[in-house]
């Protein structure tokens, strides 16, 4: 336990809490874009960014709660985020392809 000796433990905890507050404000800004976005592609972009913010959120929670058990969750959120974004993008693209009667 090196942190308790060197006296940096409280500083790292406070920095993590400040970072969590900043990430919360950033997620609120992205939710404004999700609600107001003119097209569906804007909403897809904002939802992708919200997923990345939640990954950072889990890593910061692991630092604040001093546990290594959140590392699985970070990787899992990343994989699910990629699959969801690809699904939304392919849905947007196929909707137009059906309309234009390309085949």
């Amino acid at each position: 336990m090196s942190l308790s000796e060197s006296g940096f433990a409280t500083i790292i905890q406070n920095v993590s809490i400040i970072c969590l507050i900043a990430l919360s404000v950033s997620i609120l800004l992205l939710i404004i874009r999700v609600m107001r976005g003119p097209t569906n592609a804007d909403r897809a972009v904002a939802l992708d960014a919200i997923g990345v913010n939640i990954m950072a959120f889990a890593a910061l929670l692991a630092i604040i709660l001093i546990t290594p058990n959140f590392n699985d969750i970070v990787l899992l959120i990343g994989i699910l985020l990629f699959i969801g974004t690809v699904a939304i993008a392919i849905y947007l693209e196929k909707g137009d392809l059906i309309d234009t009667e390309d085949d």
Binding site: M1, C19, L23, S26, I32, R33, A49, V74, L75, I79
Partner: protein, 130 residues
């Protein structure tokens, strides 16, 4: 003595990485809210979010190393995966947005649309010649 100095330096690195990553990710969110166009929003989202989450995950990795002595491969895999998949996802979204008819802001010429039209014309001529 040397071990204590190394620990202090690693703790300072944790603080720097966390603060820098949070700054990058917050700037990306402000960019997504303020930019006028889907393509510029994608530019902010893919680059800024990737840099920010990479910084925060590296900070968490160094923190776990100094705190427990474990080398957490999951965090490294997490940001490597994000760096691999964020360009793919943003490219898919931008192509879908272009197919749905999103216009670039403030530009007079759309070279991608011209290339698509030329390709369609070429395919039609090939079908006629057959």
């Amino acid at each position: 003595m040397i071990q204590k100095t190394i620990d202090i330096i690693l703790d300072v690195f944790v603080i720097i990485f966390l603060a820098g990553g949070t700054f990058a990710i917050f700037t990306a969110s402000v960019g997504i809210l303020r930019f006028p166009d889907i393509y510029t929003r994608l530019h902010a989202a893919s680059k800024g979010s990737t840099l920010g989450v990479t910084g925060i995950l590296i900070g968490a990795f160094i923190f776990h190393y100094t705190q427990y002595g474990i080398v957490s491969g999951k965090l490294i895999l997490g940001f490597l995966f994000i760096m691999l998949t964020a360009p793919v996802a943003s490219h898919l979204i931008s192509r879908a947005a272009h197919l749905r008819g999103a216009k670039p802001y403030g530009t007079l010429k759309d070279q991608y649309q011209e290339a698509i039209d030329a390709e369609k014309r070429r395919q039609k001529q090939q079908q006629k010649s057959k």
